[in-house]
Amino acid sequence: MSQAFTKAMARNIFYGGSAFFILLFLALTFDTHSALPDRDNRQNLTEQVAHGKALWEENNCIGCHSLLGEGAYFAPELGNAYQRLGGADGIKGFIMSRPKDGIPGRRSMPQFNFTPEELDAIAAFLKYSSEINTANWPPNIQG
């Protein structure tokens, strides 16, 4: 590199560039926040949905499934499970019917022994998730 290119110059680029882009990122974050009410389906964020999200987290569902494409890739995407499984009843029926000891040779979801009220909450959470505006992702019903 040229002799004129000093360490002080490189340092200034680091500090200046970082500060510049942190500020830009914060500005975009601010704008994102003002845009979210139109997209994140908050009008349907009921207490039941919040309960469903807590159950989703406390049973580590993300350890096998993905939700809006994030999580593990061992089991199907659930951002559109509400549509794919045919609504709340389909979701609840699937979760309830998982055999305790699994399926020989195949992947199986564990039996979580949820109460009916918990099942309703999970279904409500997946319904709420499916109504978030995700720019048309996933590409099709298979997730």
Binding site: F20, D40, E57, N60, F74, P76
Partner: protein
Amino acid sequence: MQYKSQAVAKPYFIAAIGLFVGQILFGLIIGLQYVIGDFLFPEIPFNVARMVHTNLLIVWLLFGFMGAAYYLVPEEAERELVSPGLAILMFWIFLVAGALTILGYLLVPYSGLAEMTGNSLLPTMGREFLEQPTITKIGIVIVALAFLFNVGMTVLKGRKTVVSLVLLIGLTGLALLFLFAFYNPDNLVKDKFYWWWVVHLWVEGVWELILGSILAFVLIKTTGVDREVIEKWLYVIIAMTLITGIIGTGHHFYWIGTPEYWQWWGSIFSALEPIPFFMMTVFAFNMVNRRRRNHPNKAAVLWALGTAVMAFLGAGVWGFLHTLSPVNYYTHGSQITAAHGHMAFYGAYVMIVLTMISYAMPMLRGREAANSNRSQVLEMWSFWLMTVSIVFITLFLTGAGILQVYLQRYSADPLPFMVVQDKIALFYWMREVAGVMFLIGLLTYIASFFVGGKEPEAVVAATEGA
């Protein structure tokens, strides 16, 4: 070893390698569960084993970073650590907390663990990579603060170099950004948005600062190139890292309910994210070519060069592969993501920690500068075994991912998830074989520590042009 207190790095490095073995064993378990679905079911279901696999990775890398900092900072600051006792105390707290957390994952159902640790008081569990009980997270913060205090004070009281300063900025950023792990709103979109402030801004932001400074340190020591030159490069590389990486966070905001302009911002800036990694490769090779001496620890130099190349391939090339939003629309949340994750983590962070261990461990074990030639040869074998294995794991997962994307998302008649999984099982089998090879490489690596013999002599490189 120039300073007595550098010795605290040794237990950190040993713990890191031990947990690394655990991580790989659980990786093999989940790899097998991909093809033999009921393997260890219901005793160790996939989600538990995966959580152990990823959490062990994060914890051992943190052990490695901390060990690296404890070794590097006294030498850079030219003084002893402020408190070696605190460093050892924090080592045991972190190790015990980590071990208890992993045992909790394995012995108690996850929901039971959530209940036991009072997750409902401050719910932070059950999000990918942040599965730790809230109490463990608080423990991580305390350990991080004590560590930063120890390292920070040492730097402040001693010689301040660019290497230690950049390391300190990276470690501080790591601790600060982790605080977003405690923010878990009911609103899923906000939850995901700030979750990335931890995950992305760690691995594509502040961790790269840590990576850069450790690499710079090892290159200064092994090549004898003028510190000024290396530090200048370091500044330019980390500047490019943050310039591209911060707005590059946008490549995670395409499909999670955030506004669609992120598809432009994210695509444009993350397309530039390979640049700092490319510069890092040029930098490492350039410095080694301009070396003023031939360091007797050839293995450490090999690891350093390997880091630069593999980080560029894994984080740079495999990241670019699916970062543009029209491509990502199809590849998001597929095995392509898994392929990128494996090579990027190995190439950037696993390898930099192993580079540091390779460089520092001989001195920590009382040698002058390097292990015996026999030991180094074995270590270099392990380098190639692990690196080639990860390349194959990545290639097989990429193959699986391409097929998955085509069959499940792109073809005219998309197939259900599980049907597709069955069709691509052959790739998962091959991945598992590559995984076993990786384990053999890792065991070889550990074996290299137990090979004795006489230390090779340092050689001064022939002066260029002489």
